[in-house]
């Protein structure tokens, strides 16, 4: 295991001490490069009130290459496939070492607020989205309700 760069320590400290509203990221105890992430669905989107679990991993080359992020909670979204993989430019070609965990998670939250069926990852979802947007949004709401809304007893 490569040594933990100072930058990762700094970022982690800041994520814990000054968290982004609606987003949490907690490093795993065994592997400080592995984070448990939750993102709250944007209020104006079909994912509102949902709290989505994600996992995030900082590869050895980070920050020279992008973190690996994946949804763990099922989500109905044209740019997120059923394995939770995310189609987002800043996670691929548009990654820059000037970005950081915090900005990436914000981008993902923004992606929830602005699905882009023209550049799909989940093809079937994208087709639904384009042919009948209202229905697709209803499905997204339903899925959010089903999988992402925390049960009432466990706050």
């Amino acid at each position: 295991m490569a040594a933990l760069p100072k930058r990762i320590i700094k970022e982690t400290q800041r994520l814990v001490s000054d968290p982004v509203p609606g987003i949490t990221a907690t490093p795993s105890e065994e592997n400080l490069r592995y984070f448990q992430v939750t993102i709250d669905g944007p209020s104006s989107s079909p994912y509102a009130k949902g709290r989505f679990d994600l996992e995030l991993f900082l590869p050895d080359d980070y920050p020279m290459c992008a973190p690996k992020v994946r949804f763990l909670t099922k989500i109905y979204h044209p740019n997120i496939d059923k394995l939770g993989r995310i189609c987002l430019d800043v996670l691929k070609d548009n990654w820059s070492p000037a970005l950081q965990i915090r900005t990436i998670l914000l981008s993902i939250q923004a992606l929830l607020g602005a699905p882009n069926p023209d550049d799909p990852l989940a093809n079937d979802v994208a087709v639904d989205w384009k042919s009948d947007e209202a229905k697709a949004i209803a499905t997204a709401k339903e899925w959010t309700e089903k999988y992402a809304v925390p049960s009432t007893d466990s706050s």
Partner: protein
């Protein structure tokens, strides 16, 4: 030294200094600029950071404009400004530390090697609105507790002295008696000790360096050239390393890694006003090798990077996938078999078919995989990936191995997913591939594969049961 952060200024009387602080930091390493260089698009980074970045991608991390190493220019005055600021920083922080109406801001628990002096309850430094820290039960102002102390305490760290240095209490043993006697003297004593002269480092006059010692601004050192390794024999590579007094042991990829890292260290070192010696650079290189996975000893079994595979990331284009598969084939087989067996059992009991003779083939072909949608994907997804991918692996690389119909269909599409299975041992590793998936890979999937995927959901479910 504890890592510094611009946010430390927010708790001082001049919070805006955090801007000044941030601006002097490199966007890549988030630390103070070291040997700052400016790009042709006018953005500034540490020499080492930007060179490292440009080794893989030829663009500016900030604005994405095309960028080449040869265009980087040193910014001497910035380097002097930054180092000047860094020297003053601890003092500035302590001078500007917030005090609540002269209230003593207490220190967090001292490091172990220093004697702890308990401060009694009647201590006069304890004012009317002091509160106890719930973690270390030290008293301090509520504001201080909330704003900074608690953060450090909860993380189990010692609060950096900068935040409270002004009222630092001396903790030497000889003063413990005085301490008990009077709170006021304690206060003054503390203050006297609190403005320490900075550690007697060699004094550098940044002004003189910039304005008068111009001859020192240029180093008569040539940069190391970039090497096109593909056109060189190993002997030649070793020769080059030898010329630089570098080690020549190790495998060919290690030699290349070693040269490239030294190339970065060396060329960025030249951008420093006061460059380190080559000896120091070689020491740095050795340290780097110790922590780099490319040089870690191939301790058998425990790591997924074994033997000749160890210095390749699994996602590398030229990762020796065949060798890897050979090595871990048995593990895959066991995994798949376990999954199938569990699945078979479950099916058998569910459909009320006598168990025992149910073969994996017959099970996977049976319909009725609807439960998959009911699954909480959070727990299942990783298993699913492993399952799916191991099938694909078998199909793609061991076409003669036994398969079932659905798996054959499933294996047709994705190029990449097999990497996930390679990393099945830890969830963190599974991500290494997921993020890399080509956006269009899902598009290529065929209907039949989707069915297979559904089944795999089911598999995973039964594995969990």
């Amino acid at each position: 030294m504890a890592s510094s952060d611009p946010s430390e200024w927010l708790q001082t009387r001049l919070p805006k200094l955090s801007q000044l602080d941030s601006l002097q930091r490199c966007l890549i390493c988030k630390d103070f600029l070291k040997a700052p260089v400016i790009t042709s698009c006018n953005h500034t980074f540490c020499s080492l950071c930007i060179r490292q970045h440009l080794q893989s991608v030829s663009n500016c991390p900030l604005c994405k404009a095309e960028q080449f190493e040869s265009n980087l220019k040193r910014v001497i005055i910035l380097e002097e400004l930054v180092s000047c600021f860094r020297e003053l920083r601890p003092q500035l922080l302590s001078l500007l530390a917030l005090q609540d109406s002269g209230e003593a801001v207490m220190e967090p628990p001292p490091p172990k090697d220093i004697e702890v002096v308990e401060i009694s309850d009647d201590d006069t430094s304890k004012g009317p609105d002091l509160v106890q820290c719930p973690v270390c039960s030290k008293s301090m102002s509520a504001k201080h507790l909330q704003q900074s102390h608690l953060d450090y305490c909860l993380r189990g760290e010692v609060e950096p002295p900068a935040a409270s240095a002004l009222l630092k209490l001396t903790r030497s043993a000889k003063s413990s008696a005085e301490r008990k006697r009077g709170g006021i003297s304690l206060f003054f004593l503390a203050q006297k000790r609190a403005r320490p002269s900075p550690p007697p480092k060699e004094e550098i006059n940044h002004e003189a360096f910039y304005f008068n010692e111009v001859h020192k601004h240029h180093h008569e050192v040539k940069r190391l050239p970039k090497i096109d390794f593909s056109s060189l024999s190993t002997v030649k590579v070793k020769e080059k390393l030898l010329n630089l007094k570098l080690l020549t042991q190790g495998t060919r990829p290690q030699l290349e890694l070693r040269y490239n890292q030294f190339y970065l260290l060396y060329n960025s070192n030249i951008d420093l006003s006061r460059p380190a010696s080559e000896l120091e650079l070689r020491q740095k290189l050795n340290q780097w090798e110790k922590s780099h996975q490319g040089f870690s000893a191939p301790k058998a079994g425990s790591t997924i990077y074994g033997d000749e595979l160890k210095y390749k990331a699994l996602t590398d284009k030229d990762f020796p996938i065949r060798g890897w598969l050979k090595k871990y084939r048995e593990e895959f087989t066991t995994l798949t078999q376990t999954a199938r067996a569990t699945h078979a059992k479950k099916k058998a009991s569910a459909i009320d078919v006598p168990s025992g003779t149910t073969t994996p083939e017959s099970t996977t072909q049976s319909p009725g995989m609807t439960t998959s949608t009911q699954l909480q994907s959070s727990t299942v997804a990783v298993n699913e990936v492993i399952e799916l991918s191991s099938h694909e692996l078998e199909k793609q690389f061991f076409p003669d191995s036994k398969q079932d119909a659905n798996v054959a269909a499933a294996s047709s599409a994705d190029e990449k997913p097999h990497f996930a299975a390679t990393e099945s041992l830890s969830p963190a590793r599974s991500l290494a591939y997921l993020g890399n998936a080509a956006p269009d890979s899902a598009l290529q999937r065929e209907g039949s594969q989707k069915i297979a995927e559904e089944e795999l959901y089911d598999f995973s479910n039964s594995m969990l049961a």
